[in-house]
């Protein structure tokens, strides 16, 4: 069981995602802004971050992921986005531009998202053990 932070400004998304993650026994905290998210990262010390591309600004999520990586934070990040469909912009996992571990287009199917969460947590666990 792990501590997971969900950062999304849409309360319905954070509610739904935290609902099934909590049911799986994870400890979940939600945040709606980048500032709130950064504070939660420090206080809550999550082991995984579910991050939306658009928070307050259209690319806030990406900027935040880049900042984390620049600061040497290797925390697994799952990025959620509905941007591609609306604006025609294409986002995908990209180590340089979008330095995240997994990328899901909204709505993310709960079972797929869960599987990815478990996979990343397991990978992280094995990395830290070795």
């Amino acid at each position: 069981m792990a501590r997971i932070l969900i950062l999304d400004d849409d309360p319905d998304i954070t509610f739904a995602v935290s609902l099934f993650l909590t049911r799986q026994g994870h400890e979940v905290k939600t945040a709606a802004t980048r500032g709130e998210g950064m504070r939660a990262l420090a206080d809550f010390q999550p082991e995984l971050l579910v991050l939306d591309v658009m928070i307050e600004q259209p690319d806030d999520g990406i900027a935040m992921a880049q900042e984390l990586r620049r600061n040497g934070n290797r925390l697994p990040i799952i990025m959620l986005s509905s941007v591609g469909r609306v604006t025609g912009m294409q986002f995908d996992r990209d180590d340089e531009m979008v330095p995240v571990d997994a990328f899901f287009a909204k709505p993310a199917r709960p079972e797929e998202l869960l599987a990815k969460v478990e996979e990343l947590l397991a990978r992280k666990g094995s990395t830290s053990c070795s």
Partner: protein, 616 residues
């Protein structure tokens, strides 16, 4: 500066005063300034010349004449100031003023001539100054009348001296005032000089006036032509301008069709319908049009002698004797031909050609702009139609999904645990806002789609507003807000589609209720000129200054409106603006900081009479 202002003022006025008319007041100032020199010249120069040249002329009386000129000039200067202060545009009074001045000057000069040797007097030449002034300042018929007066005055003085009725003051020795040959020759030469001078002045003035009228015509024409984005209006304005400025019989624009095979009459002024119908339009056979598009301009001074006019009888029957054609060239190639038609006796000058080419050049730009505008309007209409259709299609599945979720939430379907119920409630809430968005999009598209015929009817806005207020009263009461309606007694019926007005007011009132936490929402319906004003005021959160410029943009929501957490699509005010524009109305917003918002909509009572709107 004075001149520029006057010219501009004249452009704006209904009856345009000619350049010469506008020049009158400044010219009179100039005349008075000149007269100071003349007056003091006679006052001091006369006695001085008599003394220096030892002339036997009466210095005293000459000085009196000079003093007289100075005296009446002083009076004129004051009178002019008063005239200008009273009404600088009263041209008639200025003209009378000029006449009085010229008459007095000429009498003074005639007396001066009599005192300085009559027909022998060198001061006779001073008349030439006066003739120049009279020719330029007075209307043509009066100018020449005054010119005739000058030799008559001189002849009169000579005759009186010749007959001994007037004592001769000799300046030449021996005196020659009785030498009939000398008197006739000098008076005759003087008369010729007078008329010659007047003729030259007049010709120059006339040419300048013509040039001025052309320039003003061009300026006004271009202004008219470019002030419209309706293609037919642009074309009509061009063809109406040309005969007015060139003084020709008619003008027409023939535009090439897309394939370049036909040159059809697109607009004409001064031509009969029969002529426009019967003139063949095949471009391949019209040498005149082909030559015009190749060379830019074709002048046919006599249609009978030009083989390119291949339907001369038709042209002659129309009373046309000459044609001047110029090409209308757009950025992408030739658009058509602009043609001026002259009646018998009409001749085109180089100036006419230059003028017509200038009009065609400006016309080409205006035509292309109008065409582009027309295309954009069509695209916009297509877009609105598409929006309406797709939005309409979206509505059905949303409704069905709402129904499905309601069924899921119903106790009859079976128990749900708390988290499931919460998920369901959230899903239903999101669907409701999607539903609202679809409705707003449909309203917006309906407002923009002007292909839907309006159900225009005389609507008493007060009744409509009361109806809307009753419908929304529940919403206001729920929030503890007072919703009031005031309707003035002198209400005018407004021609509009009642459904449109309902939508407009409902949007404004809903907004006001939504963004007002406490206080009231007040709707006023009052008379405003020839139309009605609807004012929706609230004591709500107001609109921050930075949001004002974006307020009517689609999907825009002011930051403080978003922060309230109230659901909203950001389309409400865009819908209102579209509806107001549809009825050629006006919308204004005031929101003094912390004092709520007032939105004012002015609608003309009859949109058809107030402004042309495509929708109607």
């Amino acid at each position: 500066m004075v001149l520029d202002k006057r010219m501009l003022a004249a452009f704006g006025s209904r009856r345009r005063r000619s350049f010469a008319e506008q020049e009158l007041a400044p010219s009179l100032e100039w005349l008075i300034r000149l007269r100071w020199f003349a007056g003091f010249g006679v006052l001091l120069g006369g006695p001085l010349a008599a003394w220096a040249l030892q002339l036997a002329i009466p210095a005293g009386p000459i000085a009196v004449i000079g003093a007289g000129i100075v005296g009446y000039n002083f009076a004129f200067e004051r009178a002019l100031r008063q005239l200008c202060a009273a009404d600088p545009d009263a041209t008639g009074r200025f003209e009378a003023f000029v006449r009085v001045q010229v008459i007095l000057d000429w009498i003074a000069l005639a007396v001066l001539i009599a005192l300085t040797g009559g027909a022998e007097s060198p001061t006779v030449l001073f008349f030439l100054f006066h003739i120049t002034i009279a020719s330029l300042l007075l209307p043509e018929h009066l100018g020449f009348g005054f010119v005739s007066l000058a030799p008559l005055l001189v002849v009169g003085v000579a005759l009186l001296e010749y007959t001994g009725a007037l004592p001769h003051i000799a300046i030449a020795s021996p005196p020659r005032y009785r030498d009939s040959h000398f008197v006739l020759a000098s008076v005759g030469a003087f008369g010729f000089a007078c008329y010659g001078m007047a003729y030259c002045c007049r010709s120059i003035a006339r040419r300048l006036q013509r040039r001025e009228s052309e320039l003003i015509g061009l300026y006004e024409g271009v202004r008219d032509i470019t002030s419209s984005l309706e293609l037919m209006e642009v074309l009509d304005r061009i063809v109406e301008t040309v005969p007015r400025v060139l003084g020709c019989k008619a003008a027409a624009i023939r535009l090439l069709d897309g394939a370049g095979s036909q040159v059809q009459f697109a607009a004409s002024a001064g031509l009969s319908e029969r002529y426009c119908d019967e003139v063949p339009a095949e471009y391949a056979r019209s040498m005149l049009d082909q030559d015009t598009l190749r060379d830019g301009v074709v002048d046919v001074p006599d249609i009978g002698k030009d083989a390119r006019v291949w339907h001369p009888e038709l042209v002659r029957d129309e009373g046309i004797a000459s044609m001047l054609s110029v090409a209308i060239l757009g950025r992408g190639g030739p658009l058509g031909v602009l043609r001026a038609y002259g009646a018998p006796g009409h001749r085109s000058s180089a100036d006419d050609i230059a003028y017509l080419r200038a009009v065609a050049a400006h016309g080409a730009a205006a035509i292309e702009n109008a065409k582009a505008f027309q295309m954009l309007a069509e695209i916009d209409r297509d877009k609105s139609r598409f929006l309406r259709m797709t939005t309409h299609e979206l509505r059905a599945p949303v409704r069905v999904t709402e129904g499905l979720l309601q069924t899921l939430a119903a106790p009859a379907t079976g128990p749900l645990h708390a988290d499931q119920r919460e998920l369901l409630t959230r899903a239903q809430r999101r669907l409701t806002s999607l539903h609202a968005l679809i409705d707003d999009l449909l309203d917006l598209a309906a407002g923009k789609a002007d292909m839907v015929p309006l159900q225009l009817a005389p609507v008493m806005l007060g009744d409509q507003v009361r109806e809307v207020a009753e419908r929304l009263r529940g919403m206001a009461t729920e929030k503890g807000l007072a919703l009031t309606v005031e309707v003035s007694r002198d209400e005018l019926p407004v021609w509009c589609d009642p459904a449109d007005f309902d939508r407009l007011v409902a949007n404004l009132v809903t907004n006001a209720i939504q963004y007002t936490a406490r206080g009231s929402v007040n709707v006023r319906v009052l008379r405003h000129g020839e139309g009605m004003r609807v004012q929706v005021g609230d004591t709500g959160i107001g609109i921050p200054a930075e949001a004002m410029p974006h307020l009517f943009e689609e999907f825009y929501r002011a930051p403080n409106a978003k922060a309230t957490g109230q659901p909203g699509t950001g389309l409400g005010l865009a819908i209102v603006r579209t509806l107001v524009e549809r009825y050629a109305g006006h919308i204004g917003v005031t929101s003094p900081e912390g004092a709520g918002t007032t939105i004012t909509v002015d609608l003309p009572a009859d949109v058809n009479r107030s402004a042309p709107v495509g929708a109607c």
